[in-house]
Amino acid sequence: MQFAAAGALGAGSSGLMPQIAKAAAEIKSQGRHCVLLWMSGGPSQIDTFDMKPDHANGGSLKEAATAVPGLRFSEHLPGLAKQADSLAILRGLSTKEGDHERGTVLMRTGHIPGGPVMYPSIGCSLSKELGSAEAELPSYVSIAPSAFARASIRPGFLGPKHAATSVAAAADPTGNEFARLRVDFLEQDKSVTRDRRVDRLKLWRQMQDDFAAKRGTENVLAQNTVYESALRMLDSDAKDAFDLSTESDKVRAAYGRESFGQGCLMARRLIERGVPLVEVTLGNGLAWDTHADNFAQVRRLSEQLDAGWCTLMTELRDRGLLERTTILWAGEFGRTPVINRNGGRDHFPQAFSCVLAGGGIAGGQVYGATNESGMEVSDGKMDQQDLLSTLCKALGVSPATENIAEGGRPIAIAEGESVDEVLS
């Protein structure tokens, strides 16, 4: 692996507080992390990672060389081009869902929606395996999820305790401001003073103890445990991870001022504090849904993507954390190679790209290919199950790990064929 040497030295030299450095070292010994970069709306593969400069479908954006000889992608991803040796580009994705909502559920759960089983989103399954119940911070944080994604980031039969903690983003800022990100329900009613809160909790604990004394049943005790964890989180310093104002403007700006960039920065802070799974969405609503004026939009989105993703990888590598962090870049489907009359591209699940990067991934390669026109997968065809199985393996989680669904049925996290060629 190209970045194996970074090690704990990186953490020591990066100016972190000692306890975080210590925590980071502990994480190295056991914890793995996963970052899902979710491209809401369906990103255009042919304008990003699978370009066709010699074909009429190629469009107006230009291809450029990367740090890896022979590997080329969009010139609007210059930072990623420099780190191409950490990326494995999968060009052979193919599924059957071209509807946003259904496609989002399919890519995230591995299953078509609407069946009798409520399949969990992959983030919930993975955070359940990678996380610890005693942690102060939640195991799965989803930053700026779009409305479609919100419904699909679901724990399904794993139960709500494996749900994601979502961080809402205000509208992207204008001028020199940074996007504001806010954690749902972490802010307490400001009109209630600290003294009143202390008194409330004292009374609450008395009531809880009295009730449990005669009704110490599993559900009553579990309610108390869950509440105590929630209260611990409200009180903990760990929740400072969500406070980006302690970062320098220089660092914040490097990530990009929009919610995606700031979300990537938050992802780095959360990973430093041991959170196993962080998801960052690019595209408020369905920004990648470029039915019209595709090229200008993709260019703008690529710039955001490049700044956030690239800085995240750099900072994780500096801290010795990239080798423990696997990154997946994906959306619900790709876009039609044929350009429509509005200069846009439509939904296209038949042949599109995803990218894996970081820990557990053999970077600097392309797996799979589409034909000249980009209309069909010509090599290395894989579906969403294969992708999820590969992601599991990269994180050291067996895709065959079973959870119990409704009616007592054991169900594996993913059932595809993993692409071992991209695993390190």
Partner: protein
Amino acid sequence: MSRLLSSLSIVLLLGMTQRAMPNDGIAAINAVAIDAAVSQINQVLSDSWQQQDIVPAAVSSDAEFCRRVWLDLAGVAPPVSEVRMFLNDTLPDKRGRLIDRLLMSPHHASHMAATWNDILLPADAQSIQQRQNIVALQRWLRDQFIDNTPYDYFVASFLTAGGAANRGPAIFYTTREVEPKKIAAATSRIFLGIQLQCAECHDHPFDRWTQEDFWGYAAFFGQLSRSDENMNAGGLIVDLPDGDVTMPDSDDPVAPHYPGVSEPPEEDVTNNRRRQLTIWMASRDNDYFARAAVNRFWGHLFGRGLVDPVDAMDKDNPASHPELLDFLTRYFIQQRFDLRNLIATIARSDAYQRSSAYDAVDRPPADSFAVMSVKTLTPRQFYNSVRQNVMRQNQAVSMNANDAQREQFLARMRATDTSPRDYPHGVMQALGVMNGPEMSRAVHSTQSGLLASLEAPFFEEADKVEAIFLATLSRYPNEVETQRMARFFAKANSEVERGQLRSDLLWTLLNTAEATVCP
């Protein structure tokens, strides 16, 4: 098999249009039968406690019982005035009267419709854009419960529903992609209490079911199809004249047959296979049907079925009290599948009157029914209780009430396939209850109907505390709590501060385990 052509099948042949007259006054009509059945239940359970040296819990207090029976039967905690009235009631049989009154209330029909909606629909259906169809199904179900449609008629009409007149039940089929094997798995689980789908690929490992049983059963749904009409709303359900199912690795169509029955199925004049199925399914000759129903309703009231989970009544999962299950099955059939009558009977049993509090360290096991289970409220029960008693919004009893805030709360808290004896929520849900918009509204001095009503100057502080306890926990504060409250309020120096403390008390009580459960 012609003896199976009971009066039920005749009604079925007539097109399921007839309905039994609604019962008006359960106990009045069936008092003798109910009393006899209650004694029988009591006898079986007290014998089993004696045999196992179990000391049952004390009889529940009136307040505990009142909260329980409201939440179980009406789906919502009792309004404050109802608790006061019940506690002051000195006439005989007040518990029985409350049971009967609640069973006749529109709350009960709504609660049952919501409960059955969750039973019938796959977990996933709720999250898809099906709102309109879910509402249609709830309305259809609610009508059945308002009329107290006998359970066999209710299920038979559900299983033969189709066409434009039955948009409600159609979602049951469309969410299972109108696929015979999925519908077979769901209907056998829900209405027969058996996991027939385990025999989909091979003979059931722990039971008598063969692969032929599963596919022969699935064949009854082979004619089902989705018509093109009304596609935007999921489509209508129709029966085509033909449609065969085949077993995996075979091209031969499987003939429909009743699982575990050797004779061929009843003929149906219109060759409607679903109707053929219901002739047997919802008949008194099919023991699984009534057993599954009584077990499910027992589970609804006790938080645990006599067989648990209620839809896994397989051979390797015996009942805790087999003779009691047999008795209730016969009783339910004798009482012509009368659901209100069944619930009224179980709710009058001695076991249902027991407290969920237990002093000794060794709490008797849940399957002894010697102590009531503490049941976690569903998010809907919790929200409706807070809305009714604390926010005090005007609400139509109809589930049609468009309440966006409630929908958001339910979506956030939704758990699938959980036992009421579990607490399914995690840290995020707890934070959401503590700090979410619903709680803010409930404890806000001007938005909370309860707190606003307590601003009146002629109440003593103790009365106000009492009202907050009744609204959240459905009981008066006990002596220790009264003293605690006196100290809690002693630090306030002004009416403003007292108002803040009332809000704090309300927040505290709403977040206790006690407010989150049915005692």
